[in-house]
């Protein structure tokens, strides 16, 4: 029973990280109807920036927020200088651009920081807290940070006029321009926010999986599964999906398929959702009149 609880709660901790990355995917998908395959590599690269800052003597939380700012600008720049200038509307060509970004971030990270696996610090204390030993302080902290990020994001979209404008620009760019919204900047802002969320996820997961240029590959796969389970157009669904995938991964890994096949769970989930309920748990079915 104790082992089961341990797996369950540990699943929630990694689930929070999947939820963050899934949310970043959903945000960009809502604005552009594209899946950003480079989301994970952007997060990885940002995490290296945090590592470099911390190694240079910057205190953890200062490095944390500087990294978020860096990631935000990185996302902004990718939309503003690269994606916006792509004249192509062919999905295949855009997918190739994303794959190109993956390779670039991966190689540049390896080139600058080497492929040696590095320790990444956790800002949270060692040893178990609150007289329980199911969740390490870092896991608890990661869940906490995830919840703070999600709450801030929700409040931003729900209560601010900029958040409303971003939602409007994503669903109806033509009408948005007619009320004066600068749609191109809203897209760039969406990319910036998504990259910032990814960076937080990267910094929270790095102490668990260790820092190396390939650290986000598996996580991105779980995040895809989470986003699809929740429904690719539902931010709330992405969050629920993230926690669900985290728990499923742990429980199936511990009791059914074994640790070696854990990543396969994500693939089975992705294919399963696409076969059985392509719109996901909370997504809406898109109907087009012809």
């Amino acid at each position: 029973m104790e082992a089961f609880l341990h797996q369950l709660l540990g699943g929630l901790a990694t689930g929070g990280i999947y939820a963050s990355v899934a949310l970043a995917l959903v945000m960009i998908h809502q604005a552009t109807h594209l899946l950003n395959f480079a989301q994970g590599e952007m997060a990885m690269f940002s995490t290296y920036i945090a590592w470099a800052l911390i190694n240079a003597g910057v205190p953890y939380w200062a490095a944390f927020f500087l990294t978020i700012a860096f990631a935000f600008l990185l996302g902004l720049a990718i939309q503003h200088f690269l994606m916006r200038n792509l004249r192509s509307t062919s999905v295949l060509q855009l997918v190739i651009v994303f794959i190109g970004l993956i390779v670039i971030f991966n190689s540049v990270a390896g080139w600058i920081f080497t492929y040696t696996i590095k320790d990444f610090p956790s800002p949270f204390p060692k040893g178990y807290l609150f007289g329980q030993k199911y969740l390490s302080p870092h896991e608890l902290g990661a869940i906490g940070v995830t919840m703070v990020v999600l709450t801030l994001l929700w409040a931003f979209f729900r209560f601010t006029s900029l958040g409303l404008a971003m939602r409007a620009a994503a669903q109806n760019p033509v009408s948005s321009r007619l009320v004066g919204i600068r749609v191109a900047w809203m897209l760039a802002l969406g990319w910036g926010l998504a990259a910032a969320i990814g960076a937080v996820a990267g910094m929270m997961v790095a102490p668990i999986v260790y820092l190396d240029p390939n650290m986000m590959a598996g996580i991105l796969l779980y995040a895809f599964a989470a986003a699809l389970i929740g429904g690719i157009d539902s931010p709330g669904g992405a969050v629920v999906g993230g926690f669900l995938v985290g728990v499923l991964e742990n429980l199936l890994g511990a009791y059914v398929v074994g640790n070696e096949l854990k990543l396969g769970v994500a693939l089975v989930l992705i294919i399963g959702v696409l076969l059985v309920k392509p719109s996901g748990l909370f997504g809406s079915v898109q109907v087009t009149r012809v």
């Binding site: 409303l164 939602r167 409007a168 669903q171 321009r177 007619l178 009320v179 919204i181």
Partner: protein, 238 residues
């Protein structure tokens, strides 16, 4: 003579290789209601789109004496030009209230914006009943009211209306036109109106221009245009 509110000189525009406007020229005075009449495909909607830079025109567009034809749509809106587009342009996944809030997106006078909600709900009580409802679930008439209201939330100097009567029951059209007249008279909003229903448009308007295949072929006061024999035969049906 004072500077016209809007002055269009030799406007050319089209879609890809298809040219739709072949040198449209017209002007309208501050505080007036002007209507552009014409058959389907004459270039009325294209003219409004070109004014708002939704398509790139050649020619001159002056708003209050200032060239605006090379500006972006977002900047033209900031000059106080509200556009009720063809097809209403509803943000279907957002609530009625959020749609209205977006209409006031460029305004900085927050307190006045909050008051304008009450003003709009005064004109269109149906929208007040539906304020929390997802706008895509509103009826066609309600969405048309919402589209007009969204443009009014800008507190525009000039309101561009693209077939506001489209798909509406006659009773609702009459109600809508009464409200447009009130807005023009009480708030001094100038209106450039495109209508299929020429009789109703001429009743409301001060000035009228008749467009045929991308050119202005007739212009004058609404009364003059209404009494023109060709207009009567082709557009008024008597």
């Amino acid at each position: 003579m004072s500077t016209p509110l809007l002055e269009v000189v030799d406007l050319h525009a089209g879609y890809g290789l298809t040219r739709v406007l072949h040198g449209i020229s017209f002007s309208m005075e501050e505080g007036s209601i002007t209507t552009l009449l014409g058959a389907n495909g004459a270039g009325k909607t294209t003219t409004l789109r070109a004014l708002c830079a939704m398509i790139r025109p050649q020619g001159e567009v002056r708003f209050r004496g200032e060239r605006v034809d090379s500006r972006a749509t977002e900047d033209i809106v900031r000059l106080g030009i509200g556009h009720v587009p063809e097809g209403r342009g509803t943000f279907v996944h957002l609530s009625t209230e959020e749609n209205l809030r977006l209409g006031a997106y460029v305004r900085k006078d927050r307190a006045a914006v909050e008051q304008d909600f009450d003003r709009i709900y005064g004109y269109f009580p149906r929208l007040a009943e539906r304020r929390r409802q997802q706008a895509g679930t509103l009826s066609g008439g309600e969405q048309q009211m919402l589209a007009v209201s969204r443009a009014l939330m800008l507190r525009p100097r000039l309101l561009l209306l693209d077939e506001p009567s489209f798909g509406l029951a006659p009773l609702i059209v009459r109600e809508l036109f009464e409200i447009l007249r009130t807005i023009n008279q009480k708030e001094g909003v100038s209106i450039l109106l495109i209508e299929q229903n020429a009789a109703m448009a001429l009743d409301l308007a001060d000035q009228a221009y008749l467009i045929e295949t991308g050119r202005v072929v007739l212009s004058g006061s609404a009364a003059e245009v209404r009494n023109n024999d060709a207009v009567r035969a082709s557009y008024l049906g008597y």
